[in-house]
């Protein structure tokens, strides 16, 4: 894995501070050498090639870059990659198994929870954090948990239904 930096020709460029971090992503242990100013979203997308994590607003508003860090939903555009050292990350690629979709992914399919799909990975991870904590949420709980994730297509109605569908399926499987 290589990450290439711009050589700006100044002294600072010749002394790019690089740190080695160890972390787990979707169950795989990784080591990365990164510049401390790299954002977690960029490490995931460019360093690991996991492009399911989307960059939307890049200003801590939209939630498209939501991933789980130690099970908590956070905005990966607003966390330095170096801070992932020693932590466990889950991205949308970590939801499905080789042969089976995660119930949340099934729910989004069954209930038409997406149109363009851009916000979907973030929605599903914020929803996963909710369902891990509260397997039987009310509609209000779901809306509250997703209130940091913006969707510009669906108006949220079907997204909420998708999450409730998944919650029911997960409860039935439990």
């Amino acid at each position: 894995m290589a990450i290439v930096y711009d050589d700006l020709g100044d002294e600072a460029a010749s002394e790019v501070p690089v740190r080695r971090i160890r972390f787990t992503i979707n169950g795989s242990k990784k080591i990365a050498e990164i510049e401390p100013r790299m954002l977690l979203a960029h490490l995931i997308r460019r360093g690991l090639g996991l492009t399911g994590t989307h960059m939307g607003c890049d200003t801590t508003n939209c939630g498209a870059c939501t991933v789980l860090v130690d099970g908590k939903a956070i905005k990966s555009c607003t966390m330095l990659a170096v801070q992932a050292d020693g932590h466990e990350i889950t991205t949308v690629e970590g939801l499905a198994s080789a042969s089976e979709l995660h119930p949340l992914q099934e729910g989004f399919k069954e209930e038409h929870g997406l149109q363009c799909g851009f916000c979907t990975p973030g929605m599903m991870l914020a929803a996963k954090a909710l369902l891990d904590r509260n397997p039987d949420p009310t509609e209000e709980d779901v809306r509250w948990a997703l209130s940091g994730n913006l969707c510009r297509c669906t108006g949220y109605q079907n997204i909420v239904k998708s999450v409730l569908w998944a919650a029911e399926k997960l409860r039935a499987e439990a």
Binding site: A12, V16, P17, R19, E35, P36, R37, M38, L39, H42, D58, T59, T60, N61, G63, T66, K72, A73, I74, K75, C77, T78, M79, L80, V82, Q83, D85, A126, W144, A145, L146, S147, G148, N149
Partner: protein
């Protein structure tokens, strides 16, 4: 967007963190939750030469009530910890009301109360809450610890009194003199937006009489505003329609709002009065009032 290049340090102890801050001087910044600092660095509004990430410093991720009734919130206590706290729900109505209204759920999982106080954004919710509660910030530096009242901690927009080598390690809410009640109301255009208007009210009553009152305003001035005259109008009296109306008028008068894309100055001032009346009107000892008005 990337921040400019910086030296990154992640100390494992308070002493180490303070030593790094001493070396870094004005060019060093403390990173806790990073939910204000990282966006500012990405926009290059802030370009510190060194970041001292305190997330590996043990013993800062707590909130606890001491036997004397004071509440202590450590520098790594996240907004979400307070939002989901059973401890707050029954004992700290103003804080319990505010916690779910901070930013959005994703930001609340990382951002910290102490970091929010240090950031001193005039639209920051916690500064009003802590000001209304008469809270303090405990800072640790090379020479030891000192407690700074929140009323003196913030000196202006995005400015606080910390020395470059001091680290804010906790915020403290003093013990109540009576039964606590109060709340926090926030007018925002959508979840995650800054407050158009925010009002924090903290009341302590003994019997019918208000023995301590605090009212503070978010987003209606160049800095968090303590509506001290409004609070004084309640103290020593029972809560009646008349005292509530007087406090609401005085609080509205203390606001210094400006007309902007979030609303006119008149509208914001009016909403301060409305919020004071709503919180105090719903006040019975132990009652929390929270509302996200749209």
């Amino acid at each position: 967007m990337y921040p400019s290049r910086f030296r990154y340090e992640a100390p494992n102890s308070l002493d180490e963190a303070i030593g790094l801050l001493r070396d870094g001087g004005d060019d060093a910044k403390v990173l806790a939750g990073g939910q204000s600092l990282v966006p500012l660095m990405k926009l290059r509004f802030a370009s510190p030469e060194m970041l001292v990430d305190i997330n590996n410093v043990p013993g800062l991720a707590y909130h606890r009530a001491d036997p004397d009734g004071s509440l202590h919130i450590g520098a790594l206590c996240r907004h979400a910890d307070l939002e989901h706290s059973d401890q707050l729900a029954g004992t700290q109505p103003t804080m319990a009301a505010a916690a779910p209204l901070i930013a959005d759920p994703l930001v609340r999982n990382r951002g910290t109360l102490v970091g929010s106080l240090c950031h001193a954004d005039p639209q920051g919710d916690w500064a009003s809450v802590m000001l209304a509660l008469g809270g303090t910030v405990v800072a640790q530096g090379p020479l030891g610890r000192r407690a700074i009242p929140v009323a003196e901690f913030v000196t202006g927009p995005f400015q606080n009194v910390l020395e470059p080598d001091e680290l804010a390690i906790e915020a403290v809410v003093p013990p109540a003199k009576g039964a606590r009640s109060g709340g926090y109301l926030k007018l925002e255009r959508r979840v995650g937006d800054f407050a158009t208007v925010g009002v924090a009210v903290a009341i302590e009553t003994a019997g019918e009489t208000v023995v301590r009152a605090g009212i503070a305003l978010t987003g209606v001035g160049g800095s968090t505003i303590g509506a001290t005259e409004a609070a004084a109008a309640l103290t020593g009296k029972p809560l009646t329609a008349e005292t509530i109306a007087e406090a609401a008028d005085l609080a509205a008068g203390a606001a210094r709002p400006k007309t902007d894309h979030r609303g006119s100055a008149d509208y914001k001032r009016h909403m301060v009065g409305v919020f004071v009346r709503r919180i105090l009107g719903g006040t019975a000892p132990g009652t929390a009032t929270a509302e996200r008005a749209a």
